[in-house]
Subunit: 558 residues, 2 copies
């Protein structure tokens, strides 16, 4: 990491004091958790998301996860799909080598335990594949898919398996095609900032590679230590830098992908501009592996900012949060790189789960984390100081801290990034990832909390109640709310309170029922709340065009 944190003056304004960040004792610092997952490459489970890293394999073996077929009894295996036999396995082993075609009960060493690939990190979805394929080249992916297409064998493409909607693990016996072995950086040009890399490169690995070359990956998310670029593309991951650098639809310059019939889509352009025909690569961005498998990406990466500042502050109401956001946009403009929202409940559950001390002494109903990134330390500090003086002077912000070094920055970020893991720490979590117009964004959290209070299903202490708390946090800069219902166990009664109520609420406000997590299995049935019948019909046309046999990641998406 190439971050220099400028020393900021201690601000004293009226009764408010901008404190020096205390020596935080957070257990799960951002980099630490990332490193933990990154070294487990061989054991990583399976696409990607904005949120925390998947649990360790030892965690998975503690308690068996319910099969998806049990949780979703209405989904039936498509009888058109062939069940694999010895002949199929023989073919795959010829193409990939025996070590890279792993069969349940044959390759039994811990490294290749199929269970870790069958289950998702939230412990909510569990497939029943008997075969895991680990191709090492685009040509191998092509041969595998062609064979599967001709033989009607269903497949489940898989990246780092950090997805949150069950898109990255099989439902039945779809064979898993994990891209983790394709993990090379192919090319980087430090004048244009264009990186070309295999789909299996881990996001953090790519970002570290770029850091050494003065650049930054235009995407950042909590699962960076595990998620892979191919999964990032396939799920159109949003994350923490979208506010500043925009979406993958703008930053991805080219893709290499394999269609079900084995066709290699050779669209790996290294050009910032290329107006020669339909921009087909866009269909794979957010396509969730349903029309092809992304094998490589070309992406424009911005220059890394030498000056990065992180501040964390408490506010008394959501109205004040909105005021602070408007003010930050205005006075920090070109250097604002993140504006994150966390409610007090999110910070308390993070504190409980991690044992960490929070940055501010008193409690506040809301907290925000802002990050600035710029080229000139003095200029940025001056802008940030002016912003903080203004918001404290006007009473918009109650209290806050500014990180003075890299460790403090990481600790502040941990208060935001640790929320996802914390909210499922005590059992399970119902997650909603929503786009909602800013003025009403937080109302949903309040209304959901009220519903559970009325139902008598929620209690922070009483172990007999399924729900512990309802917490709200997210990317304020993108109007993107994460609402997590932290539970002691998965319970259909809890789900009944939430669905379809949450989706109806969002639909009435023309929001999105999945802002950045995608559809997968979890949101498949609810696309109608965010898309018209016409749009869904047009999407199905695309699916049929590219995957007429429907072998790609079936039972999910649309």
């Amino acid at each position: 990491m190439n971050r220099c944190i400028p020393s900021l003056r201690r601000l004293r304004l009226a009764n408010n004091t901008f404190q020096q960040s205390p020596p935080l004792r957070l257990q799960a610092s951002r980099l630490a958790s990332q490193r933990r997952w990154q070294t487990q490459e061989a054991t990583t489970t399976a696409s990607n998301a904005d949120e925390g890293p998947p649990p360790s394999r030892s965690g998975i073996s503690q308690k068996k996860i319910k099969y998806t077929t049990e949780s979703y009894p209405n989904i039936k295996r498509d009888s058109r799909f062939k069940e694999i036999n010895a002949e199929d396995v023989k073919y795959f082993r010829e193409v990939l080598g025996a070590d890279n075609a792993i069969i349940d009960g044959v390759n039994q060493d811990a490294t290749d335990d199929l269970e870790a690939y069958n289950a998702d990190w939230m412990r909510k979805y569990r497939g029943q594949t008997k075969l895991l394929l680990k191709p090492g080249s685009t040509e191998q992916v092509s041969k595998i898919l062609k064979y599967c297409n001709e033989n009607l064998i269903a497949v489940n493409p898989q990246g780092g398996n950090t997805g949150l909607v069950g898109g990255s693990v099989p439902v039945f016996d779809e064979i898993i095609i994990n891209l983790g072995r394709m993990n090379k950086v192919r090319d980087f040009d430090d004048v244009s900032g264009i990186l070309v890399a295999d789909a299996g490169v881990i996001l953090e690995t790519a970002d570290n590679y770029l850091a050494e070359r003065g650049h930054i990956f235009p995407l950042d998310l909590g699962a960076k230590g595990t998620c892979q670029l191919g999964g990032n593309i396939a799920t159109n991951a949003g994350g923490l830098r979208l506010l500043r650098y925009g979406s993958l639809h703008g930053n991805v310059l080219g893709l290499e992908a394999v269609l079900p019939d084995g066709t290699i889509v050779d669209d790996l352009s290294k050009l910032r501009k290329n107006n020669t025909g339909y921009d087909l690569k866009q269909l794979f961005i957010g396509g969730e592996g349903t029309i092809g498998i992304v094998t490589a990406v070309s992406i424009i990466c911005p220059q890394r900012s030498p000056a990065v500042n992180v501040a964390y502050f408490g506010l008394e109401s959501y109205e004040k949060v909105q005021e602070a956001f408007k003010e930050a946009k205005k006075s920090l403009q070109e250097i604002l790189s993140a504006f994150e929202l966390m409610d007090n409940n999110s910070q308390q559950i993070y504190k409980r789960a991690s044992g960490a001390k929070l940055p501010l002494q008193g409690e506040h109903p809301f907290y925000c984390l802002i990050e600035t990134s710029g080229s000139n330390t003095d200029h940025d500090s001056e802008k940030l100081t002016a912003f903080l003086e203004h918001v404290m002077g006007e009473g918009i912000v109650e209290d806050g801290v500014v990180a003075e070094n890299e460790t403090q920055s990481q600790n502040l970020w941990a208060c935001r990034e640790g929320v996802s893991e914390a909210s499922q720490h005590f059992g399970g979590v119902y997650k909603y990832d929503l786009s909602i117009p800013l003025p009403e964004l937080y109302s949903l959290v309040e209304e959901t909390r009220a519903k559970f209070q009325e139902s008598g299903m929620m209690d922070a202490e009483d172990e007999s109640k399924p729900v512990i708390d309802v917490i709200g946090y997210g990317h304020m800069g993108d109007s993107n709310l994460h609402i997590n219902v932290a539970t002691r166990r998965y319970d259909k009664e809890v789900e009944k309170v939430l669905e379809p109520w949450v989706f109806e609420w969002v639909q009435k406000r023309n929001g999105s029922i999945s802002a950045e997590h995608g559809l997968g299995l979890a949101k498949k049935e609810f696309i109608g709340y965010s898309r018209s019948d016409t749009m869904v019909k047009l999407m199905k046309d695309i699916k049929n065009l590219y995957d007429p046999n429907g072998i790609m990641n079936p039972y999910k998406y649309i």
Copy 2:
């Protein structure tokens, strides 16, 4: 325009002096020319581009433009397409009213002269439509297209008709559907910066609207006073702000479009994030009206920077230009909003055509224009000064000026934006819009010039020679070169020197034969130089899916 230009210190370094910008006497200032075209809404001719505004109607009538069918005798009218009859006209008049279904020889007033809609502004393409339709609503567009699709009537969607590849005018008798009447801003939210507007809104009108509300359209180009948002989308226009704000693929949040069968694609999302299915709108961005007609757009617009600086400088070699670019990226980073390249030939022809005085006294082989946009005048001036001191101190830049007020900024920009119009001022112009890796970008201009010198076809003074000069300029920040061959007349012999040589040259460097202008008619045959057979085949599948009858903008694109 909401621009404050800071007063910069006069820089004196060694033998170099950064001069105060002299009181330039440029004839065709940017705003002036834009205003001229904007007031001609009713008479504007037809999609859009990076370059200058179309000529006035009086200009068009000076000399008849060759029919496209004469220039491209190999293109034959598709006999499947119906020739319109009285019954068809009756239907269109019922839907649109007589005033908005304009028939050759019937509506004869100057405003509705079909000729202005049939011909492109370069005077290179001329169609033969007998019918111009001006729908006033999305529903009317739907009714028109449904009727045309059922009756196999070919159509030519048209925005501001400022395109450079013949994509915005008919080839034969395709009826023109001009979106100019759909010109309302539908919605704007000043917290999120999201604008929703009809396709027929003129780019400059949108930008002015945004300026009043503290925002900026994330796209800017020379034809802004005429081109329309729908055409910008349809051609995936690049232009001057791409370096800073990225492409339309990232900035467009939603579209409303009509498919050939009349289906209204209702994807006009106002959400920054919406991961619910394939991102189909992307196919219309750069689709050049071949699968549907864009009727409205939702787009995220950045905050307008209160501090804008423009500098113009001379350099002795292309190597120095590259050095200056690297240095600008490094030291201006987040405030750099444009880095434009012009060779001396481009500045000389601009001077000759416009009668303008150039900003610097001596001649230099190369010139660059840079623009910074930021939130803090003092900070930006300090960064720019440090950059200029460095590049002059190191001998990277020979001489330069910094604009001290809005007028001077416009005059400096005119030296860049006036090149396109100037290069066709003396007769005609062969234009290539190419993406080429930066180190080799300018070599093509030198090699092309050498070819014409060898051929004996080029002379700046000798009227008997077809070619006047070969000029190079473009968007350095995007590796996007415009190479213009200024001619006294269009001549097949000139074309033979250029094609396919230019395309082969670009192909060898994995460049793009159309960076931002699109394919249209001019580049249709050459897509193979930038796209594989596989990609072209996949594109044709998309075309067939959406437009099985092929009525949308036929004879062009792929």
